[in-house]
């Protein structure tokens, strides 16, 4: 009798420990998300797929979806590669490396509105630092940057990469620190050069980190719209009009919450699909 009650308590224990976290997640995260999905399946107050029909029949939606995908196809791999390289660099045992690490992390601590101001000033068409610099030093004609339909999206990619890499660098650095140094010594004895070591030893050993960074970075980037909102408002010629910005405008500007919710549903499903494939892909290699 006593035994079974003790066992039951033991069985209940992990749930008790989870309870606070679970309660907060359910109330403040899952409930609003479910509400959002429910709204997406409403049209003018009643259950319907009409909102999605309206959404999918809009050319602008497909364009925004394409902009989102295009941006992420470049930005996420770029961030992963750059942050990995940065991590390799700050993993070197030289004097003062701690200060470099912290300073590389500085862009992460800058808030997006501030970062947006810095970058739009730097890349301003007229008196911007970048144009003044390339003009007076290299004689290159002023570039449009955020005002050029062919460049604006890539300027946003540059800004977000600049701001994001320090963050992911830290995770990679941790991954690199976790590698047993004896592995490298063994490789050295075998006569492997630096590139071979990197390719055959380091990269496979930080696979777990890569998976984490990939998944987390993808989810963040697909939902990223602050630079668009703050700098370009989706322009020029809709070239930076990412889907999340569309959802934001629907909900916050146009008062059509159902459409905004439906757009968000599409985004969340998109993330889930991509993350699913990322898991599949990395597991297959094993």
């Amino acid at each position: 009798m006593k035994q079974s009650s003790a066992k039951m308590k033991k069985r209940a224990l992990p749930y008790c420990l989870l309870l606070p976290a679970l309660a907060f997640v359910l109330v403040f995260k899952i409930y609003p998300l479910i509400y959002c999905f429910i709204q997406g399946f409403h049209y003018k107050g009643s259950w319907s797929l009409e909102t999605f029909r309206v959404l999918f029949s809009n050319k602008g939606f497909w364009h925004s979806l394409w902009v989102t995908i295009k941006m992420n196809l470049v930005m996420t791999p770029l961030q992963i590669v750059l942050s990995f390289l940065m991590a390799l660099l700050v993993n070197q045992a030289v004097r003062g490396i701690g200060a470099f690490r912290s300073l590389y992390y500085l862009p992460v601590t800058i808030s997006m509105p501030v970062a947006a101001i810095c970058w739009s000033l730097m890349l301003s068409v007229n008196n911007g630092l970048a144009n003044s610099f390339i003009g007076s030093w290299f004689g290159i004609a002023p570039q449009g940057f955020f005002t050029d339909a062919n460049q604006a999206l890539w300027c946003i990619v540059a800004l977000s990469t600049w701001k994001g890499c320090g963050y992911w660098m830290m995770f990679y650095l941790a991954g690199l620190k976790g590698i047993d140094t004896s592995v490298y010594e063994a490789a050295k004895i075998d006569g492997a050069n630096a590139l071979q070591t990197l390719w055959d030893i380091t990269i496979p050993l930080v696979k777990k980190t890569t998976l984490f960074v990939m998944v987390a970075d993808t989810s963040i980037n697909i939902l990223l719209f602050a630079p668009t909102q703050l700098i370009t408002s989706g322009g020029p010629s809709d070239s930076t009009n990412v889907l999340m910005y569309e959802a934001y405008k629907q909900a916050f500007k146009y008062g059509s919450y159902e459409k905004g919710a439906a757009t968000t549903c599409v985004l969340v499903v998109l993330i889930l699909i991509i993350v699913f494939f990322q898991f599949k892909l990395t597991n297959q290699e094993d």
Binding site: L17, L22, M86, V114, M244, G260
Partner: protein
Amino acid sequence: MKRFDKKRLGKAGIYLLLVIVLIISLFPIIYPLLSSFRTDNELFENMAPFNWHTIVPIEWTWENYIAIFKEYQFGSYLKNTLIMIALIIPGTIVICSLAAFAFSFYDFKMKKQLFALFLLTFMIPGEAIALPLYSLVNSMGLINTYAGLVLPALANGLVLFLFVQFFSDTPKALLESVEIDGGGWWTSFSRIVLPLSKPILITAGLMVFVNQWNDYLWPLLAARAQEVKVVTVAVANFKEQNVIHWGYIYAASTVSALIPIFIFLPFQKYFVQGITSGGVKG
């Protein structure tokens, strides 16, 4: 001798690379930093043609800093922000570490599904759920309170994930020996797991700090009253309908970028250790 030179060359190369990346990292920030020490008119007068004074002030002035603290009560917004963060950090750590403890050291039904649920929260866009969340928090009567700012931030999928990663390296045998000695979970948690967790506590704390420090939309909606308004929301006040006080924005940005950096610098060693899953071994 030759070997020594090669080594030195390698070191120089590393430093060169470090400095190049440093310049790229810092350049966009240096301009607003320097601009925070000059008046708006001087700033715009020297914008073109591009010269030394496009970036570096002619007359250095603290005017902007004095204005934001005196006229705009920037200090009280800083205080509010720090109070908010000071509540969120321990709350998040307590809640997430307990949950992570359960995930790491116990087997129970639905473990996988529950863990996935927590990870899912990482992918939920704050902007997308802002409206229903607002209705919810409003119906709880928590708008314009610290509770309204703090409660929704407590369950953090990323922090939980980091804790689980970290705990997974703690040998289970240690905990079993506690149990054999007749100690309960609290003994294991407080005597064995927590003392080993200093790096992850710092990491989690710093991550929460940076995230909350830069959070904008939720504080904007949930904390509009003067008594709870935070820095990011207050900075928008420098952008008026017909005027932007550029100098004020730069000064405020400089202050709000320096604070996390000063907090981050002394802890960066632990920060890396905290994310490193193997950090416990040492």
